[in-house]
C-alpha cells in the first residue's frame, strides 16, 4: 500500500489523555485509603497533620505551579518557533523539579531525624492512627516524587529533541504531551498538599 508516513496528532493526544487518567487512578487508590482512615481516626490524623511542615509544603506548591506555567509557556513558544525560549523555559521547568525534590529531601530528613518514617519505633509505640497517617503520607508523596523524577526526565528528553530540531513548530506533539504529563504531576500535588498539610 502506498502511503506517506503520517502522524496522527489527535491519536497521540487521545492516547496521552488516557494515560494521564490511569495515573490519576493509580493515586486514587491512595486517596481512597486516606478517606477511609481519616474517617476512622479523625483525631490522630488531625494531630499528625498539624505537625507537618506547612512551610515546605507551601514552597513546593508554589514551585510546582510555577513550573507548570513555564511548561505551558514552552508549548506556546514552540508554536511561535522560538527555539531558544523553549529551551530556556524547559530548563526552568526542570530546575523547578530539582528544587522540589531537594526540598522534599530536606523535609523528609527532618522528619526521619524525628523518628517519623514507616515502621519506625516511635510510630510503632504511638497511637495507631498516627502510624497510618505517616505511612500513607510517605507512600503517596514518595510515589509523587517518583513521578516528578519521571516527568523531569521526560522533559529533558524533549529538550534534547528540540535542540536537535526533531521537535519543532511543525511537529511538537511530544512537547505537548510532555507538558501535559507535567501538569498531571502538578495536579496530583494540588490534591496532596491540602490533604496532608492544610485541611487537618
Amino acid at each position: 500500500m502506498n502511503h506517506a508516513p503520517h502522524k496522527d496528532y489527535g491519536g497521540a493526544k487521545l492516547g496521552m489523555w488516557l494515560f494521564l487518567f490511569t495515573e490519576l487512578l493509580l493515586f486514587s487508590g491512595l486517596f481512597l485509603l486516606y478517606a477511609t482512615y481519616l474517617s476512622r481516626y479523625p483525631r490522630e490524623f488531625t494531630a499528625a497533620g498539624r505537625d507537618m511542615h506547612v512551610g515546605f509544603g507551601t514552597l513546593n506548591t508554589v514551585i510546582l505551579i510555577t513550573s507548570s506555567l513555564l511548561a505551558a509557556m514552552a508549548v506556546t513558544a514552540i508554536q511561535r518557533n522560538e527555539r531558544r525560549n523553549v529551551l530556556l523555559l524547559l530548563g526552568g521547568t526542570i530546575l523547578c523539579a530539582v528544587t522540589f525534590l531537594c526540598n522534599k529531601y530536606l523535609e523528609w530528613s527532618a522528619e526521619i531525624g524525628n523518628g517519623i518514617y514507616p515502621g519506625s519505633p516511635r510510630l510503632a509505640n504511638g497511637p495507631p492512627g498516627e502510624s497510618v497517617f505517616y505511612s500513607l503520607y510517605y507512600i503517596t508523596v514518595g510515589l509523587h516524587g517518583l513521578h516528578v523524577l519521571v516527568g523531569a526526565t521526560l522533559l529533558a528528553v524533549v529538550a534534547v529533541r528540540v535542540k536537535r530540531g526533531t521537535v519543532h513548530a511543525g511537529d511538537f506533539v511530544l512537547l505537548e504531551n510532555g507538558a501535559l504529563y507535567w501538569h498531571l504531576v502538578d495536579l496530583i500535588w494540588i490534591f496532596i498538599f491540602p490533604l496532608y498539610y492544610l485541611i487537618l
Binding site: M1, D8, T22, I139
Partner: protein, 538 residues
Amino acid sequence: MATVQPTPTSFWNDTGKTGITSWIFSTDHKRIGLLYFYSTFGFFLVGVLLGLLLRIELMAPGRTIMGPATYNATFTVHGVVMIFLFIIPGMPGAFGNLVMPIQIGARDVAFPRLNLFSWWLYAIGAVIVLTSLFTGGGPPDTGWTFYVPFSARTGTNVSLAVLGVFVIGFSSILTGINFVTTIHRLRAEGMTWGRLPLFVWSIYATAWVQVLATPILGITLVLIMAERILGAGLFDPGRGGDPVMYQHLFWIYSHPAVYIMILPAMGVISDVIPVFARKPIFGYKMIAFSSLAIAAAGSLVWGHHMYTSGMSDTAILVFSFLTFVVAIPSAIKVFNWVSTLYKGSISLEAPMLFALSFILLFSIGGLTGLILGAAATDIHVHDTHFVVGHFHYVMFGGAGFAFFSAMHYWLPKFYGRKYAEKPAVIAWAFMFTGFNILYFSMMVLGLKGMPRRYYDYLPEFAPLNLVSTIGSWILAVGLIIMLVNLFRGLFWGEPVGSNPWGGATLEWSIPTPPPTENFDQEPVVTHGPYDFTKAGVP
C-alpha cells in the same frame, strides 16, 4: 474450501526479514499478536501441568504426591500463571492484536512501537515472576489473591512475584490505551460504529476496563511491597491498618479483570456463531451495547467477594443487587446467540463446537456466579470447591474455550494452512467431556462442604475427588490431541484460501496469510460485518 497456495508475499516474509530479531523487535501487529499468542499459550500449558498436579494430589485423601507447603505454592503459581500470564494478556494481546486492526480496515494499531513495548513489558514481567519461583524464599504461597496479612508476613518470595505482576499490569494498561485509540482513530472509510464487528466492540470495551481498572491493581501491588519492604503497616490491625481495605482494593481491580478475560471471549463467540449458522447476528446493537454495559456495571460489584470479610449489611445488599444487575447484559448476549442459531444452517466445525460449548459452559459459570452473588447462599459456599468449580466454568469453560475457538477460527488465516477437521472434533469431545467431569464434581464437592486451598480432605469426599481427577486426565488427552492436530495443520496442513469459512468481516477479504500492510488499498467498507451476501469483499 478453496485450495489457493499461500501467497509468497505475506507478513511472514514480504519484508525480507525473517530472523528472530525481526520478530521480537517487530512493530507489525500480526507478529506481535503471534508473539503474544505463543508466550501466553506457553504459560497456559505450564498452568495446565500445575493444575494436573493439584488434581493428582487431591486424587485421594492425605498426602499423595506433595505436602501442604508445596500444595500451597502450586495452587498459587497455577492461579498467578493462569490469570496474569495467560488469560488476561492472552485474548487482547494475541487475538486483539492479530485480528482487530484488520477488522477495522487499518494497517496497524495506533501506536505500533508502544505495542511492541507492551509485549516486552509482558515478557519482562513474566521473567520476574518466573525468577520469583526459584530465588529468595521460594515460590509465593499466598494464593493468587495475595491477601494480607499472610502476604505481608510469609517468608516466600512474594515481593518479587508482585513486582512481576505489576509490570505485566503496566503492559495491560498500555495495550488498553493503544486499542481504544486505534478503534477511535483508525477505522477505514465506511467502517462506522454500527458496522464494527462485535469482536472489535468487545475488544473496545475490554480496553476501557484495562485502562480504568488496572491502575488500582498497580497501587495495590505497590502497597503489598510497601508492607513487606518498608513495614508500612497500612493493612496491619496492630498498627491501625485494616486488612479488609486490602481486599477492597484488590477486588476493585480483580472483579473488572474477569471482564478483561470474558469480554473478548464473548466477542469471539459473537463473530463465530453467525458465520457457522450462516445467518446475520441477532440483536447486533444489544450485543454491542451489553459489552459496554458489562464493562460499566462490572466495576461496581467487587464487594461480592467479601460478604464474609466484614461489611455492613447495607453494603452487602447493594453489592448483591448490583451483581444481579450485571447478569442481565450477559444474559442478553446468551439469548442473542441462541436466537442467531434459530433456523440457521448450522455447520458443526471445530470453531463452532467450541463456541457452542462456550455458551453452555459460560451459562453454567454465570448462573453459579449468581449463587455466589446472593449473600444468603454465598455464606454457605464461600471459599469451598464450589467457588473453584464456578470460576473454572467461567474462565476455562468460557474464556478458555473461546480462546480455542479463536485458535481454530483465525490461526489458519495467519498461517495459510489448516488442521484436520476430524481430530479437531475428537479433541473437542474429549475436552468437553473431561471438563465437565472435572469441574462439575468440584462444584458438588463444594456444596457438600469441601473447602478450597487444602491439600487434604475428609474421607467422605474421596469418591468425587477421584472422579474429578479422572476428568482432568480426559481433558488433558483432549488438549494433547488438539495441540498436535492444530499445530501440525498450521505448519504442514492443507493450504486454505482467503475466506475458508465464508466470513463477511474484513479479515476475510484480504489474502491468506495477510501481507504486512494488510490491505493493498485503504478499504472502503460497504456493508455490515454479518452481511453474508457480500462475504469476501470489503
